[in-house]
């Protein structure tokens, strides 16, 4: 498997774009069906690119970024599958199998970046305090560039190092599983800081009951939804692709599920809850308006505002 410098540079550039595209831009260029064709064209075999991209796409249809979970990364997996299929003249299935370690590393990098970006929010707070709107814009673009670079570098290493690089990455990802697993767990807990901040600002003492009511309702609906739908997020990918690499993927999936169990119970739960919340809020609004009217009739004043 050998590629010339121009090919490597073009793949680097394309991966840079689609790594960002998986969360931003058009959120569709990264899909294997598109990326397969582009990588195929760059490597001089459009037809193979189309076939592998299309096949990979059908495999990953059940593997969407639903509800914010991080499945093994199909973006980097799709690119490497095409690279291996063309570079090493492999069957689609075998190429996809070799791409699995890269998909896993991709997932790790996303977890890492989302963790590192959390403390950066305090920097953003300082910018807001100073009204530094250009800083906010810069931060958003910098984070996107960081994601693009991480992915592009790994794919380039994969193109140069080939299958051997896959094996290296595989053993690297197995070496200290607790670090990735710990980061995933910590990442899953950080949103509670966001909630606690909101509560600190929003919650007046007479609203604790409402907070617990919302919590309870979501828990009940989540429990019901859990009974009926099982692990939508990971099932598709795991079943179809991972026959080839199940041992590697297992601890990654395990970590993913813990962060990502939000996905399975989401669905329409929050919409249903919002309906009930709106009913409560409307009732509160109407009662208070009625009270105000009654009060103002008695006092005869209309602009005391109390």
């Amino acid at each position: 498997m050998s590629f010339n410098a121009i090919q490597i540079i073009l793949v680097f550039a394309w991966v840079f774009i689609i790594a960002i595209d998986q969360f931003d831009f058009l959120e569709s260029l990264y899909q294997p069906i598109v990326t397969g064709a582009v990588i195929g064209a760059i490597l001089g075999d459009l037809k193979t690119g189309l076939v592998v991209g299309g096949t990979y796409q059908l495999m990953t249809i059940g593997n969407m970024p639903v509800g914010g979970a991080q499945p093994p990364n199909a973006v980097i997996g799709g690119v490497m599958a095409v690279v291996f299929a063309i570079g090493s003249k492999l069957e689609t299935g075998a190429a996809v199998g070799l791409a699995v370690p890269f998909a896993l590393i991709g997932q790790y990098m996303v977890t890492l970046l989302f963790t590192v970006m959390s403390p950066m929010m305090s920097v953003a707070d300082k910018m807001a305090e100073k009204g530094d709107h250009k800083g906010i814009v810069r931060l958003n673009w910098l984070a996107m560039a960081a994601l693009g670079l991480l992915f592009a570098v790994v794919c380039t290493l994969g193109m140069i190092g080939g299958e051997a690089m896959g094996k290296t990455l595989e053993s690297l990802s197995k070496a200290q599983p607790w670090i990735m697993s710990g980061l995933s767990v910590a990442g899953g807990m950080m949103r509670f800081v966001g909630f606690a901040t909101l509560l600190r600002i929003m919650l007046s003492n007479d609203q604790w009951g409402i907070y617990f009511a919302g919590f309870s309702l979501a828990t009940i609906i989540g429990y019901v939804a859990d009974l009926t739908s099982i692990v939508l997020t990971n099932a598709g990918f795991t079943n179809t692709i991972l026959d080839k690499g199940e041992t590697i993927i297992n601890h990654g999936i395990e970590a993913t599920e813990r962060v990502g169990s939000i996905a399975n119970v989401s669905g329409s739960a929050l919409l249903l809850i919002a309906f009930i919340g709106i009913a409560l809020a409307l009732n509160d609004f109407q009662t208070n308006v009625a009270l105000k009217k009654a009060g103002s009739n008695e006092n005869g004043g209309d602009d005391d505002g109390i």
Binding site: A143, T197, A218, A274
Partner: protein
């Protein structure tokens, strides 16, 4: 201005001029990068602020104290469906333009962002992508270059139609709604924060996925997690949220201290096998 942190009304309460189509469209384009600085603490918060900045600048003016106030509260936790975000943008911008009470804006933002996730997933990931990718993939597998082109075309026409429509529709909707509501602004704020708190309660459970390791079990095989679930499901997310609330409110912890503590907790927990 030591009390800036708790200031809940803008200094300049005169409604700003309505945002023009150009500014609204600019924000639709920016909404594409909503998740640019996604992170585990506040998720899309910084991308959200990035998206509505053109509107906020037009409304509050550059270098004004009101712009700082507005930027600060728009950097709080935010997460919604990336393809439907312009709906929230339109409403919030109409509230900002009318210089509505900050507590109201926050409450409406929280109440609007939550439910959209499920709707967006249903429309885009469970319907549009399978259809568009299904058609495209079969063509691509036969070596037809039209496969990926069809896919991109179908997906993006729908995506941009939804983004532009929601922005303009919800902005005019919000503007109309405010006229009705200003008569009872105080009562509306109370009701809206009630809804907001209710939704944060729901998010605590719905977004809270932290559980103990399945390996933590009694000798008979019962896991500690299942015992906790027996007492109160989602006890850990609730406990962590309330604990962090306490640390911030009573002990004066900053978000960054909380994040550091959680990082240590997660790593140590994973090392000794709690998680």
């Amino acid at each position: 201005m030591a009390s800036k942190q708790i200031q809940t009304t803008y200094n300049n309460l005169t409604p700003a001029a309505a945002l023009d189509k150009k500014t609204l469209n600019k924000m639709v384009w920016r909404s594409l990068n909503l998740q640019g600085s996604f992170n585990y603490e506040r998720m899309q918060a910084n991308g959200w602020l990035y998206g509505i900045l053109p509107g906020l600048l037009a409304i509050h003016g550059e270098d004004s104290d009101d712009l700082k106030l507005s930027m600060a509260h728009n950097l709080e936790f935010f997460n919604t469906h990336p393809f439907l975000v312009t709906f929230v943008m339109g409403i919030i911008l109409s509230l900002e333009q009318q210089k509505t009470d900050i507590n109201t804006i926050r409450a409406v933002r929280v109440a609007a962002m939550g439910p959209l996730g499920g709707i967006g997933d249903a429309i885009f990931w469970f319907t549009l992508v399978p259809i568009a990718a299904g058609i495209g993939s079969n063509m691509a597998i036969q070596g037809n270059i039209m496969g990926p082109i069809m896919f991109l075309l179908i997906f993006n026409v729908v995506q941009f139609a939804v983004r532009f429509f929601l922005m303009h529709w919800s902005y005019s909707l919000g503007t109309k709604a405010i006229e009705v509501l200003t008569a009872n602004a105080k009562e509306f704020t109370h009701a809206a924060s009630l809804l907001g708190v209710f939704i944060v309660g729901a998010l605590t459970s719905n977004y809270g996925g932290t559980t103990l390791s399945a390996n933590l079990a009694l000798e008979n095989g019962t896991t500690i997690q299942s015992i906790l679930d027996g007492v109160l499901p989602k006890m850990i997310p609730l406990g962590l949220t309330l604990g962090l609330y306490f640390l911030m409110k009573k002990k004066g912890w900053t978000p960054i201290m909380c994040i550091g503590a959680l990082l240590v907790l997660g790593l140590l927990g994973a090392l000794v096998g709690i998680f």
